[in-house]
Structures are given as C-alpha cells and as structure tokens.
C-alpha cells in the first residue's frame, strides 16, 4: 500500500467509542452546550457497535427509589469488591441511576413495567433489589442512534483510534485514527477526549479456540486500555480480572440474572446447588472453579424444574436480546431448557469494569489522571457498572468534558508525534512477508491462558513476561495485506500491551483478593495491612511500566466488619454440618 492521505479535524469534545457510554457522553456534552463541536469516533458502526450491539435483557444494578437506596448499593458493591473501591464514584453512579433510567425511558428504551405502568423491579443481587428486566431490550442501540441523529452529533464510523495526543505539559490534545477500510489517517485536535472503548475482551483465548468466540464483543480488544496507558494515564487494579460463568463453548452469559428471579440456578453434575447466590463475584467464581476441579463438575444452569410457561418466557428474553444466537447454539446440540441442564464453564480472562473492577482510573467525575481525558463504561475503573453504569458515567464524562472545554484552548498537535505514530501504524503494510496478525494474536492469547489465568503462580507469570517480550520483538515482522488486516495488526498490539499489564499488575499485588480473580497460590491470604489499597499501573517518563499504591479514599458509606464477609460465605453448607 502507498502512504494514505491524512485529514485533520478539530473538536471540542472527542468521544472514542460509539457503544454504550460513548453515545451517551456525546449526547450529554452536546446537551450541556449545543455550540460545542462533539465528534464521536467508532471503529465499527455506531448502529450496532459495542457490548450491547444486539441490545440488553435487563438492568442488574438499577437503584430505584422504593427498592434500593444509593447507600445500600454503595455498601453492596464495596462488599462484593472486598473493600477496594472508590466509593465516591459508586455513589455518583448510584445517585444518577434513577434519573438515567427515566431519561432512557423518555427516549423509548423499553423497561419491564407492571399492569399500572410502574417499573417491574426484581431481585437477584445478594442483598438488595436491583434487577429491572428489559424483555424488549433489543432496541437500545436504535434509540441511541436516533438521539445522536436528532442532536446532529458528528459521527465518524470505521475509524480506529490508535494513539492519544498529549501536550508537552501532559494535557490531552486529541487522537490519531486510521480508517479500517482505506487506512486513511485522521488527526483530531481536541480540547477534551472521552474514551469509551469497552473491555479488553480479546485477552484470554476462549476454550473453543475460536479467536472471536469471546464473551465480550470481539471488537473490544483493549484498544482503550493501551491508548490510555501510552498517554500516561493510570490504570487501576488490573489484577482484578474479569472471569465469568458462561455457557460452555458458546461463551455467552448463562444469565443467572434472567433465570434467577424465575427460579433457575447453578448446579453441579448431581443436579445440586453448590452456590446460593448467582451474583457474579470473584468469590462466586472461586466456588465455581473449585466445583469444576472437585469431580462434581461440569457445572450446569438448571431450569428443568420450572413450569413450561416460565421456560417459554425465559427463552423469549434470552433468545431475542443481547446474544440471540444462543437459541441456535442450543438447538444445534438438542438442548431444551425444559429437559436438559445447560453446561457452563469458566470464561477466558479479560479486563472489564462492567463485570469486575479494573480499568483506567477515574474519579467520581469520570476524570482520568490525564487532564482533559475522561473514561467511562467497561474500560473505566468504576466496579460492576454494567450497561446502566456505562450510561450514567458516560453522561458524567460528557458533562465534565463540556465544562472543561470552556477552560482550555485547542492544543497544537506535535507533528513529530504524528509522524512517528503514522510510521508505527503503517509498518505492517510495508512488508510483503512475515507474521500474520492472526497467528501473533493466537500465540499471545494462548500464552495468556497458559500462564496468566488463575490460579496465579509467580513462576508462570514470569515466564509469561519473557514470552511476551519475545512476541514484542516479533511485532517487527507483522504483515498486513489490506486495511482490514492492518486493523487486526493494530489490535494485536493492544492485546499484547494488555497481556503485559495483566502480568505486571498480578505480580505486583502480593496477596490474594477478589476470590478467583486474583487468587495467588504463592500468596493465598488476603493481606489488609499491606494491600488494602488500589494498585495503579502507569508508563513512566522513561517508557517503563511502573506501579504504585493508592490509598482508598475515606468511605462515604461505612461498612462494618461483619457485613464485609457477606460474599465470602457462598458455598452451601451440607445440612448436617449446618446444625
């Protein structure tokens, strides 16, 4: 390929990522100040991008007056995360939750309502009531897209951001992108940047061996984490992986949230329950893993005891929202929920604050450690924030960015940085032979499974680091034969960055915490004296990966010691032992 042309664009607010939090950030920034030039950059197409490309079957964390209070919610998420939370950010989310539900409702997102038009909230969470089903939730993306059009927000599809631009004084200056179909370059000068690039979901390799058979939308491969890292932003608690109980091979959620309120539950090969709370937490995953190891595996989702009408209702929800190909997968294996339990398994590892806790550090105003740079959704560090959290925190980021725009001028881009990035990006197109993105990705992710997946062992993680360093040299042999392959070649570089970060972060925290997520064989105990803190990972001025501890900010909602252990008691005690 010849050197593609470069275009330059100016924006007041640049949003990178058009999935869930990104569109909401753009909408709120534009609503805060309609004169702002708001640009939304998306690697795919905003119509169907991100974690909820096919919609969502419900809210798991709705804080609705009369069902739960913000204080209860903050306490529960604090407990579920072994205390390592920035409660101020949880509280900002909880306080914004109900207003966001009503705003989405006003945009015609369909939440389940009872016969009188009130929200039909259900219970799944361990201690409170936070589940609001969305039986017709396949419309969410359509609703967002409609709103972007109405507000005439500039949308640029099929451009992948590759690096953020920063000013000499460390402030954000914009971003560089490349077209995934033409390899054309785009330089966007921006006063503020909001990142909403989703999870690092292509980190571990799924058990099926299919590179794109991931739990997360496979487009969400950690570009955001890598870009934030290279721009000097801090990332928090990356050793707190995302690992989820999923349908074996299909790799979609088993959806205890959907089936739980109807009476479905997780069972072992005897058909017996072994965990009483299906809320996804590290402790729950540890019990799940132990059951698999114990000889009582595999683990199943059991609905065979439910009334046929109930199963029909569950099927309607599960087979029309979020991952609708699930019905087809079950049909292919002759699995009918009425008669056969669904085999489940442990997912590959990833970074995803939506379900666990790690990501680019943000405070309660969605600010990263780089001035003018914000982050929201699965890539930002607000724990367990799910779809509604992406919306609420995206909205916060949009409003904050709009405000910050008024205080700063448009930074001048550094031509040397742009030229260097162009060189890095295009290097794989200048080779005619070498290594393909697919094989480099496969190898990286296979090593992630071999050496980084828990239980975490120090010696194995050190081997991983050696092997990753070798692959980093191999990047100089990457070859891309067309713009599409170039996108994959760039993605594999993000994946490798995330793999390095996962290893380094896991080695740094020399204790075990968050159940299975950070279960270190060499340091099996939780050590609150040394490690009751956030761990921050960042790129030093010399380009090296560094760590520091960050103290937990004083809680705004106190949690007493007995409450703190609520999630550590999930395994069913046999009846005789309980007496």
């Amino acid at each position: 390929m010849s050197t593609p042309k470069t275009e330059t664009l100016e924006a007041d607010v640049l949003v990178i990522g058009g999935g869930t939090g990104g569109p909401m950030a753009a909408i709120r920034a534009k609503q805060a100040n309609p004169n702002l030039r708001v640009v939304l950059l998306e690697k795919a197409n905003v119509k169907r991008s991100g974690a909820i490309s096919m919609g969502m079957d419900g809210l798991n964390n709705a804080v609705i007056p009369g069902y739960a209070t913000p204080e209860q919610y903050v306490k529960e998420i604090t407990i579920a995360n072994d205390g390592i939370v920035h409660q101020q950010a949880l509280m900002a989310y909880a306080n914004g939750s109900y207003d966001m539900i009503r705003y989405l409702d006003s945009l015609d997102v369909k939440f389940e309502k009872d016969g009188a038009g009130d929200y039909a909230v259900r219970k799944v969470h361990h201690m409170g009531t936070y589940v609001l089903p969305m039986p017709q939730g396949h419309h969410v993306k359509k609703v967002l897209y409609r709103q972007l059009r109405r507000l005439r927000i500039g949308v640029i599809n099929r451009y992948m951001a590759t690096r953020l631009l920063t000013t000499p004084d460390g402030r954000i200056g914009g971003a560089i992108g490349v077209n995934t179909r033409t390899s054309e370059f785009l330089v966007i000068r921006a006063r503020t940047v909001i990142m909403a690039c989703g999870a690092a979901g292509r980190l571990g390799l799924p058990a099926s061996g299919y590179l794109f058979g991931t739990y997360e939308n496979a487009a969400n491969c950690g570009d955001g984490h890598a870009m934030a890292y290279h721009a000097g932003a801090e990332l928090a608690n990356l050793e707190c992986y995302q690992i989820n109980p999923l349908i074996k091979d299909y790799n979609g959620p088993s959806c205890a949230y959907v089936t739980g309120p109807f009476g479905g539950y997780t069972a072992n090969n005897k058909g017996a329950r072994f965990i009483e709370c299906d809320y996804w937490s590290g402790q729950m995953m540890l019990e799940f893993w132990r059951e698999l190891q114990s000889g009582n595996g595999p683990v199943f989702l059991n609905m065979t005891h439910l009334a046929p009408e109930t199963v029909g209702e569950i099927e309607t929800i599960l087979h029309s929202n979020e991952r609708p190909s699930r019905g087809r997968f079950h049909a292919g294996r002759g699995t009918d929920y009425r008669h056969r339990m669904v085999e489940m398994h442990i997912s590959e590892i990833g970074f995803c604050a939506g379900h666990s806790a790690s990501g680019v550090w943000v405070d309660e105003r969605a600010r990263t450690s780089v001035p003018g740079l914000y982050a929201a959704g699965d890539m930002a560090s607000v724990p367990h924030n799910y779809m509604l959290g992406a919306f609420v925190n995206g909205a916060i980021a949009g409003e904050e960015a709009a405000r910050f725009c008024a205080e700063v001028d448009l930074p001048e881009p550094d031509p040397d940085a742009i030229a260097a990035e162009q060189e890095r990006v295009l290097a794989p197109t200048r080779r005619t032979d070498g290594l393909t993105p697919h094989e480099v990705e496969y190898k990286t992710r296979r090593l992630v499974n071999d050496y980084l997946a828990p239980p975490k062992i120090t010696a194995k993680m050190r081997i991983a680091q050696e092997r990753f360093a070798e692959i980093r040299d191999d990047l100089n042999a990457l070859v891309a034969r067309d713009p599409h392959e170039l996108m994959r070649a760039l993605e594999v570089q993000s994946i490798l960055d995330c793999a390095d970060m996962a290893a380094a972060a896991s080695l740094y925290r020399t204790e075990s915490r968050w159940g299975f997520y950070h279960y270190r064989i060499d340091h099996p105990e939780t050590d609150n004296d040394d490690w009751f803190c956030h761990t921050m990972l960042f790129k030093d001025s010399d380009g090296a990966m560094r760590h520091r501890k960050r103290a937990i900010d004083p809680y705004v909602v106190p949690v007493d010691a007995t409450e703190m252990t609520a999630y550590q008691n999930l395994r069913i005690v046999p009846a005789e032992a309980a007496e």
């Binding site: 795919a44 119509k47 995934t180 991952r323 070498g434 042999a477």
Partner: protein, 77 residues
C-alpha cells in the same frame, strides 16, 4: 516468513436469490461490528470475507429481505 492462504468455513451464509445488494443495499456490511462482510460486485450480493465472526446477528436481523443466516462457527458447535 512467506505466507500461506488458509481455507476456512465461514458461519455467515447469504442467499443470493434474496440479497438486494445489486439494488444498492449494504445493510449487513454496515452493521457488522467486526467488519467481516463485503459485497461481491460481480455477483451483486454480500458474502463473508473474513472468518472473524462473533455470531452476534445484526447482519441477519437487520437484513431487509431475510437473505442472511448466521450459523454458529464450527469450532463452537
């Protein structure tokens, strides 16, 4: 190292008789989050160009003529 071309079965099947790409439709190509579909200009229909499917189904659901079927990739089936 020199490169080889692999063959792979692809999960997305397009019914040429129903596909209206020749009339200017690009819906399935537009909505694919992984950008793995393309239009074959000679045949005038869409096809799966890259075996990188998340079996998420916007291509099938959004197709105005029901021409697209998403199968579960063989490795998962």
């Amino acid at each position: 190292m020199p490169l080889a071309d692999h063959a792979a079965s692809v999960p997305v099947v397009v019914d040429d008789a129903k596909c209206i790409a020749a009339k200017g439709c690009t819906v399935c190509v537009d909505v694919c989050p992984l950008d793995v579909l393309a239009i074959d200009l000679v045949r005038g229909s869409a096809y799966m160009k890259y075996d990188e499917c998340w079996y998420c189904m916007p291509c099938e659901v959004d197709c105005p003529t029901g021409a697209v079927t998403v199968n579960i990739p063989y490795l998962l089936r």
